[in-house]
Subunit: 463 residues, 2 copies
Amino acid sequence: MSAVSPVLERLDQNLDASLERLFELLKIKSISTDPHYADDCRRAAEWLVADLKAIGFDAGVRPTPGHAMVVAHHEGPAGSPHILFYGHYDVQPVDPLDLWESDPFAPAVREVEPGHKVITARGASDDKGQLMTFVEACRAWKAEHGNLPCRITLLFEGEEESGSPSLKPFLEANAEELKADFALVCDTDMWDRTTPSICTSLRGLVGEELVVKAANRDLHSGMYGGPAANPIRILANILADIHDETGRVTIPGFYEGVEETPSQVLKAWETLGQDARSFLGPIGLSEPAGEKGRSVLEMVWARPTAEFNGISGGYTGKGFKTVIAAEASAKVSFRLVHQQDPKKIRAAFRQFAAERVPADCKIEFHPHGGSPAIQLGYDSPFLTKARQALTDEWRKQAVTVGSGGSIPVVGDFRTYLGMESLLVGFGLADDRIHSPNEKYELNSFAKGQRSWARILEALAARG
Amino acid sequence: MSAVSPVLERLDQNLDASLERLFELLKIKSISTDPHYADDCRRAAEWLVADLKAIGFDAGVRPTPGHAMVVAHHEGPAGSPHILFYGHYDVQPVDPLDLWESDPFAPAVREVEPGHKVITARGASDDKGQLMTFVEACRAWKAEHGNLPCRITLLFEGEEESGSPSLKPFLEANAEELKADFALVCDTDMWDRTTPSICTSLRGLVGEELVVKAANRDLHSGMYGGPAANPIRILANILADIHDETGRVTIPGFYEGVEETPSQVLKAWETLGQDARSFLGPIGLSEPAGEKGRSVLEMVWARPTAEFNGISGGYTGKGFKTVIAAEASAKVSFRLVHQQDPKKIRAAFRQFAAERVPADCKIEFHPHGGSPAIQLGYDSPFLTKARQALTDEWRKQAVTVGSGGSIPVVGDFRTYLGMESLLVGFGLADDRIHSPNEKYELNSFAKGQRSWARILEALAARG
């Protein structure tokens, strides 16, 4: 019998007790954006520290200029990997309160249909329920074996829902203490109700604002229309030139560092049953607008984009004014993958745009953030082990997915701790996080605990 | 001796008296946009009626829902043409008052340099000084000959500076009374200080607002960037396609009805000394943006355009949001010349734009006005006569110019009275109309009166 079997049995037996603990945490109104709830945030951190100490962690509330961090350590067997687990104990505000079917801070288990139970409360899914799956796995392992299979550090943040202002400085100041072999981040969803998933890639981002300036003042389009340069026309020409007819970005050098996704990965994505119809249907669209010949999942998870996030110029109020504006501006962003270099992309875009501005006009650029993509190797041993553990637990092949957006903490771990992350979570797309009536599947909570126990065992194994 | 000679002599002798009359009118604060000055507007209309009656006109104040019109009639010799003269007695507001070097309603003659005198007051140029040049010409002719050389109807509006809301209904209701052989409109400038001009063409206008709609809500550009259609990109593609690399509009059928300007007219424009440098320099530009191979004057006076007057979509505030907007919109206008049909242009543009919208997106159009161009034949006998009269008075060839914008009253005369207009005025570009320290050249006032006397004589002549 493997070491994990009795742990799984214990987790099953103690599910009610673990629910009671989760409910205690869910009752604390740790809304981080509202200063009115600062004491509640502190209480949530303290509750976690007490609970972790009860398990045997060396845990503490760690002050920051904002809400406190919770940091806890537990040794593992000699030679075992050192894992940092990340979650957050703060929650979103609950407005509009009248749309909630029950008190957001009075957690309950509800049977929504026969055999289908959910935990309802603010934070049930995002992220208290999720982080407690890992804590419970540690508790059961420790109770069963008197130790943990790996060396584990826990980091629970209290400002994730309010922009994480203290995270970077905290990581930088405590890098030695927090650096592990890799991180487990539990703040994401399963692929669907029955399919576990691991997210291994996040796209990077380069944001640019450009301002095209033509005449030294707004002009009357009757008096000047024809001879006078129109900055909206210049801007439209720049933006229209950025994509060719196949949806490919035309900026020279843009695809430098972009790798083709391995065919076996593409094939695995194909089996997920997500196509243009299912992806675009819910948002009222049907025709993929990205690069021709690529699936929607590849477009979002493994291909770079140029997107226009805002545009403004001339008269935009009601009615009409026959004005030729002095200037027009746009906000443009690029999602990056693989080894694309944010600095090179920004420079190439600026040159591309500047070349399209007539000699008597000007263009100004304002940078808005730049971060490279994150890509865990598809052949990482940690990934392989975690995927197998999830597959064993859910009796369905765990899938490796990407994320089209960024999850800042993953980039911060890489930047400040030199550490890659595996993103594993048990939320579902319909958990209504950030909305009224947030829920977490009871099944996610129970099998999430079991999944972590299996993952810990797998990661601890040599080779 | 011709009939006009003693009239010219009389005008010269009575210049001071004509200035006194103009000053009386300039002292009246007939600001039409501000209801506070409604009584002043009424007084200005009554002053004009009294003055016209003194000359011998059958004149009256004609109520409208807004400020009153002044209408006056005087018979002419049998067989002489019937001329409608148009001007306006209302003036612009005077804010900011502290930038005026003297009270805007205390008119004065100032010598700005030796021998160069100007009349300073709000309305001196726009349009009280201008309209009084014609009234004085009539007064002198009547005093000298006991009659006028043509049948003359005067129409003085009191709402020109506030959008002329009563003009169309008034023309429609009084079409029989007001319709003449043609109109003289005195509300424009000379080409320069020494060169008289007649404006014979005004561009038409078609305004369109287009709204491109993609997804059913704003999207996160990380989650959807790539597959999801971006309305700003679609809109930029539409706008960028409207012009080719030579500045020509590519909408099919756009140039239907556009005529090439006669080469002698183009040659005459070339002699005016206006080039790209002098036209664009003052607005900070140097490269003509219109159709290649055409002069700036041809671009503005005789060529149609497509202009983008406003554009809006996505996030346009400070900072950055990684949003893909649900919709984006633009305001587009077309300046028309010659026989271009506003309805056809609108329809062709809508088809052109709609063809560039992906099948799963939508486009909506909102019309904003449509009027054809106005073009007096370059060989009109009225034009030939008036041009010769101006040439005689100023001892310099009068030039035939166009206007890139529209002067609504000219279109209204055509629509409601079936009547073409000659636009003759003696303002200068530096008269600061609509600004503090408005002025009218004393020379414009004196030679303007003489010019009208000559024009009346010329128009009255047979053949």
